[in-house]
């Protein structure tokens, strides 16, 4: 947690997890330094690693957004990537020559081309994604579990198919070939694609993007943690645990669910805009069902509903392809003299294995929310009480 006061408040006094502020500051500083140093440490091994880290940061944002819907509110969403697509295409259309090329009227209105700043486009994309979140949420309010999953899956596919086919009769999205020449991020006078010299340094474009994306991911984490420890966060969890009881406690289930869908979508929208700017290119194939499933696996693998766990899951699964490319391929070449199993194939194989393993051995994820009751009771009494023993004997 980056806000020590917050962690204090989140835990009642006397709890075992309420560490002293000095420790929290020290830990925060250590993590911060590590994050700052990381691209310079990995730089010598090739820019692919830093690029991988940038994508990991994007996936962290996505996983955190999906975690609001699935982890906090307990609404299974298999079409989450659609919001990523909405954000990405919003920025792509607002900051590329595509629209002005195909719509002469627009070209006339903007003779210099459409170059909306990303800092304006991100809020637009996020709001649009939130609107789509409500659009998806409204009809599925009464659905749960499998039924909800199927409808959200359909929604995700609808968005992708629209993007794929909205190139005729009017060319909005350029269809399967996607949109190119998207403006990079500009911060003040610094163009992140061609940074030149910044404050006397000459960092590479990738490193600057890394800092930008990691800061956005940290911001997303902060927002998530604060939401979780709030009145709204508790309402989400209450709905997840027992919707009828939540209603009887005076929670407006409809509004709170819609808020979960739209806030989750907002994260996707922001990540999408950054993705478009970072890549400079978007096409519908980046937003396939597989991507939704990958993001969902990150949430489940890390620890459903637990922010640090979700971040861990996202970083692990996002870095996996890069790690495989650099270990498995050379290894196979060394042993067999050629590559027998492609890294991409192996990645899917490992995803499958990891999912099965998690379900069998750690059904609550790699780093689940602590069972605070048990820990606190141990800290207080020195020995487990009857209720603790009961919970301890329960598996998972």
């Amino acid at each position: 947690m980056s806000d020590p006061a917050a962690s204090e408040r989140a835990n009642p006094p006397g709890s075992a997890s309420g560490r002293p502020p000095s420790q929290v500051y020290a830990a925060t500083a250590a993590v911060g330094l590590a994050l700052i140093a990381l691209p310079w440490l990995l730089g010598p091994f090739g820019s692919a690693w830093v690029r991988g880290l940038c994508f990991a940061a994007l996936y962290v944002m996505l996983a955190l957004g999906l975690n609001i819907v699935v982890g906090f509110a307990g609404l299974l969403d298999l079409g989450y990537i659609a919001f990523y697509a909405v954000g990405a295409y919003t920025y792509a259309l607002l900051a590329s020559p595509h629209l002005t090329e195909h719509f002469p009227a627009l070209a006339h209105a903007f003779p210099a081309g459409l170059h909306v700043s990303i800092w304006l486009a991100l809020p637009i994309g996020a709001s649009l994604a939130a609107a789509f979140g409500i659009l998806l949420g409204a009809p599925v309010l009464k659905l749960r579990g499998d039924y909800l999953a199927i409808v959200t899956l359909g929604f995700g596919e609808i968005i992708r198919i629209f993007l794929n086919n909205l190139n005729a009769p009017l060319n909005f999205t350029n269809g399967p070939s996607g949109i190119t020449l998207i403006d990079p991020v500009r911060i003040g006078s610094v163009d992140l694609a061609h940074p030149g010299s910044v404050l006397g340094f000459r960092p590479s474009s990738l490193v600057l993007y890394y800092y930008l994306l990691v800061s956005m991911a940290l911001l997303a984490m902060l927002v998530c943690i604060r939401l979780q420890d709030s009145r709204l966060g508790r309402a989400w969890m209450a709905i997840r645990e027992d919707e009828v009881a939540a209603k009887a406690m005076g929670i407006n289930v409809r509004n709170v669910k819609l808020l979960a869908f739209s806030l989750g979508a907002t994260f996707g929208g922001v990540a999408g805009g950054l993705f478009a700017a970072f890549q400079g290119f978007v096409s519908p194939e980046s937003f396939s069902l597989m991507e939704s499933i990958v993001v969902l696996s990150m949430v489940v693998l890390g620890g459903l509903g637990h922010v640090p766990g979700v971040v861990l899951g996202a970083v692990m699964l996002a870095m996996l392809p890069e790690a495989l490319r650099h270990t498995v391929v050379p290894l196979q070449e060394a042993i067999f003299g050629r590559v027998l199993i492609d890294a991409e194939v192996l990645r899917m194989l490992l995803y499958g294995l990891a999912t099965v393993g998690i379900m069998l051995y750690r059904p609550r994820g790699l780093w689940p929310a602590p069972e605070h009751g048990v820990r606190r009771a141990l800290a207080r009494n020195g020995a487990p009480g009857p209720a603790v023993a009961q919970s301890g004997s329960r598996d998972g």
């Binding site: 408040r9 027992d242 009881a245 209603k247 005076g250």
Partner: protein
């Protein structure tokens, strides 16, 4: 003497071919402990669900503190001041006991998503007020030692207590308890009885569905008996106990005939 807190009349509810409630009426005075009893399947829980907005009645008139309300949305009913517990305990099992009670404060607090993200002063003061109020309630109800435990790990009787604490956190005018003593042993029942008396002493009116006749008879000021969705008797526990219709509903016609003879 006392003013009327809840008045419901002509309540009808039909499930397909089954008339679950027909013209049920009930009138609860402020600060009463009011019992609703009847044999299995008499419609007690259905009436509860209608009253608290979980089921839509086909018709009926509802008044809380003199203000008419239509129980269409459970969350509105909770806001109006009726809090309930459930026959089969419905806690939030993977939240701590304290968090369960804190959820109960939802309806009386206002911080929104933006307040939460920005941690505004308003949100912070409200949050600590929620926490201390919940803490106090959970202590008063006698399960303070479990505050940090997940609700599902609590012993059965204490889960029932926690459900009551959570309901009280909504600051109800009327606390509706659906078989709070179900599955409790004698000690736990005695404790529950004490608890209900304390709650009443704080000015909360209680509506109680219960099978345990001893508990109802000793505790309630007034009782309504339902059978096959109809009110068959209303009165003090003693009056109801002697009502031949009630005896017939519970014990069958021969017993009722016996009582009727004696009364003559």
């Amino acid at each position: 003497m006392a003013e009327c807190l809840l008045r419901a009349g002509s309540v009808n509810k039909r499930f397909g071919g089954l008339q679950a409630l027909s013209d049920v009426q009930i009138q609860i005075e402020r600060n009463q402990i009011y019992g609703l009893i009847g044999p299995n399947g008499a419609g007690k829980t259905t009436f509860f669900n209608v009253l608290t907005g979980l089921l839509k009645p086909d018709s009926g008139r509802f008044e809380l503190c003199g203000l008419p309300y239509w129980p269409s949305d459970a969350h509105r009913v909770a806001k109006a001041g009726i809090a309930r517990t459930f026959q089969n305990i419905r806690l939030f099992p993977d939240m701590t006991a304290l968090e369960n009670v804190m959820v109960g404060r939802h309806v009386r607090t206002h911080a929104n998503a933006l307040d939460a993200v920005l941690r505004t002063r308003r949100a912070r003061t409200e949050e600590s007020a929620i926490r201390s109020a919940a803490r106090q309630l959970i202590d008063e109800i006698g399960i303070g030692r479990y505050a940090g435990h997940l609700a599902r790990t609590l012993p059965y009787g204490d889960q029932r207590r926690l459900e009551i604490a959570r309901a009280l956190a909504t600051e109800p005018k009327l606390l509706a308890l659906d078989e709070p003593a179900a599955g409790m042993n004698a000690t736990e029942k005695a404790g529950l009885r004490e608890l209900l008396v304390t709650i009443r002493a704080k000015g909360v009116t209680i509506l109680l569905i219960e099978h345990d006749v001893k508990l109802v008879m000793g505790l309630c000021d007034c009782v309504t008996v339902l059978d096959y969705g109809k009110v068959i008797s209303v009165g003090t526990p003693i009056q109801v106990q002697r009502d031949p219709d009630v005896i017939e509903a519970y014990l069958g016609r021969p017993h009722a005939a016996l009582v009727r003879q004696e009364m003559r």
